[in-house]
Amino acid sequence: MMRAGMAAILSHWRRHPVQLAMLLAGLMLATALWTGVQAINAEARASYARAAAVLGQDRLERFVAEGAARFDQAAHVALRRAGWPVSPVLEGRIRAGGLRLTVLGVDPLTAPPQSGLAGLAAQGGFLRFITPPGEVLAHPVTAARLTEAALPGGPAIRAAEGVPEGTLIADIGIAQAMLDAPGQVSRLLIAAEVPAGLPDWREIAPGLVREAPEGAGDLARLTDSFHLNLTAFGLLAFAVGLFIVHAAVGLAFEERRGTFRTLRALGLPGGRLAALLAGELLLFAVVAGGAGVVLGWLIAAALLPDVAATLSGLYGAAVPGSVALRAEWVAAGLAIAVAGTLAAGAQALWRIARLPVLAPARPRAWAMAAAGGLRAQAAAAGALAVAAGALAVRGDGVVAGFALIGCLLLAAALALPVALHLALRAAAARVRGVLAEWFVADTRQQVPGLSLSLMALMLALAANVGVATMVASFRATFTGWLDQRLAAELYVTARSPDEGARLASFLAARAEAVLPIVSAEAVLDDAPGQVFGMADHATFRDAWPLIAAAPDVWDRVAAGTGVLVNEQLWRRAGLRLGDPLPLPGGALPVAGVYSDYGNPAGQAILGLADFDRRFPGLPHQAFAVRTADPAGVAEAVTAAFDLPPDRVLDQAAVKRFSLAVFERTFAVTGALNLLTLGVAAVALLASMVTLGAMRLPQLAPVWAAGLTRGRLAALEMARTLMLAALTAVLALPVGLALAWVLLAVVNVQAFGWRLPLHLFPGDWAVLFAAALAAAALAAALPVRRIARLAPADLLRVFAHER
């Protein structure tokens, strides 16, 4: 019985291959985008875990300095002498060969075996590793992009598979030279087995604190919001894909009502029928889900280089550019395909299970079913809008931000058919002329059938408007901020303290002002951060991008009685102007706040003299140079000191580089936007193809009354374009609301900065055109079919055998 029933059910698809293709395509695309994003996230997280494992942070306790990023290695010597099994690690960042690199200095002799360091160093012999110029271990990809001359001190570079990308591992002595941190260490790793009866470490090294292992490490925490962002995009794309599946499944079920009634009348119980249909859906989910996983892998491989650039640009996280096949996202992709398909088909299955044996077999237009649902839909949209409002006012955290976005988008999607219904009702009362009246009336009848795909289109368009507005607002703000922040015409960095001193005198004779740039790593608000020293000069007083400041901010900073903090630190620590900020050498009241985009860490700026007092001995090696002739000064400096190009940067070059990083950072967002719009176009195509068969009885009488097939096809295209245009118009305010949430809520939670909302009507026009193009593409095939309908097919509508 079951086999015969299944054969009868599946026979529908043999006669409707295009409908089947649409169902499978929708499911495949939905799974692909979701899986692609998951694959990217999995790859990035595996890379963070790899980095944490090599550093030993995920397993080993450590000693760190209280309130400072580094401390004197004398503490290490004292603890070793007392019998403590500790091993020093120095960690710092350098920029070399155009790469941002993490330098990790280790002592291969004392490194605990669990840290994974000793094995690495042993691969090539200790002597070469520990004696100057030394040797650094790097991931083969990183090694291939570096030359020895690019690294300070010129150590040899050796490729080693176990090292994370973007990290260099060196002997601690070599690393101290490379990072210009003589005698300094960042932490002391404690071996897993600590002998009993050792003297109290607090007495041996009083400035240190003992910390637990960090687990996945800082990077995983820092990048969480970015990955949540990607996941949200993946989920949105998946939801858009499910609209296709829901529409296709629902309409296929409606079309087979006659078959279902016959099967029930012939003795197949309703429960069995529902089980058979669930089995059919399961089969589709596995087939299309499998294909989607493969497609997702390809999407991930295409997008990962841009994601890697984003992670590197925003967080300094190194992620490889290729995607490995991982069981976790393959299984998750298939599972979500099955769950999504069953969810999309649940309503139809429920109806079938409860279908009375003598239910009418006439295919029931979605219009009739949906008419009563409009009010419920409007009520649900209203409730969700209220929830979104409540989240906007009371919500806290990135998750609340995304919940707000979810409520907003769902409310808008549910409200769309209601809005279209009202707009078309108003149009029906105004249009004159028989064709126009029929056109509007017929469109009203089509809206319920197309509403799911129009919702998908609206979600895609709103996401496009929202994300594009956010990115463009960010770009506009960022460009202005760069102009303020990079006020000096030239930036020069010496290779050593001596060279720095000579450079300062050389520049002083040729430039209008030479402003030292000094910085030190420090703990700010219980997290790693940076403290800068800033010279008191009109360059900064006039242009620095302050977003909040005390009236005499610059005088107080120059006098050492106030400190500037970046927006991230300000928001994270909940600081107000005048609040004291704990700093190495004593707290200072916050005198001003500045915007600092593209940097996740906290930052504080002191007056130069105050900085030198708090961080004595730090040389002045980098300078911002004010000059009317940057090219001439750059040429003179390069000639006199033989400085490489990356140490003499003019303002335009820095801006170019920064903007290039910025564009690459958001390339992945643009790609996902485009893919989501593509899925929405497929959703529209799926609905129109599926509705195509139901259109014949609606079009045939009009054709018989004297309208050509070409005219009907043109009207069908006009209808699709009109609905797409209406949807796009309604998507605009939703997209702008989304942009506001992204800029004012999610960005603040995820990155620590808030951006002003800029409006870009030109971009909207482009998107509007793109929406119409997507709709025209989606309608092209169904419209062509109408234009080429055989008269016999139309006549069948009038014939008895229909």
């Binding site: 609606q698 045939a700 009009v702 018989a704 309208l707 050509t708 139309l794 006549l795 008895h800």
Partner: protein, 218 residues
Amino acid sequence: MLLDVDGLTKTFATAEGPVAVLRGVSFALDAGQSLALTGESGSGKSTLLHCVAGLEPFDGGAVRIGGADLAGMGEAARAALRRRTVGLVFQQFNLIPSLTAGANLAFQARLAGRHDPAFCAHLAARLGLSGLLDRYPEQLSGGQQQRVAIGRALAARPALLLADEPTGNLDETTGDAVMDLLLDGVAEAGAALLMVTHSMRLAARLGGRLHLAQGRIA
């Protein structure tokens, strides 16, 4: 002569090879005349009606309506001829589901540019539809829907009315009532009527009868 069908042939391509449905059918019909078209199922009655209406192209012969030969016309010209000259009534009613009964009734007349609200109101009254004009097709019974379809065909004042088993989906009583209205309407409009029917009883009510058998007039 309003309608002149001369040696009409039509062949359908099927999986088993070409099947000749009409094999040289000829007849004529003048204004005000009515003709029943009878025959077994599959004898080609509906195909003949569709060819005469310009809904289906034919292979050979001629169909002239008011002197204009459909054979030489493109789709647009045939559609224009249908709008202005031909009224169609089908067995399946085939109203436009998105329009009210009133809008359906006036539809073709408006398309043809001959909309006369007073005449439409008169037709609606004659067909017993006056209280039903705001309803949608799905809200009407089969007999009511067919009366709207007849009203739609007559409202454009066509010279030729083609009906394909207009009462085939109705019970006998309703069918007779609808038939009365159709014949009265045609007579009032002075149109010619060509009607396909299986019923000898109904065929007898028309001015003449053509019997088709295997694609030929028997």
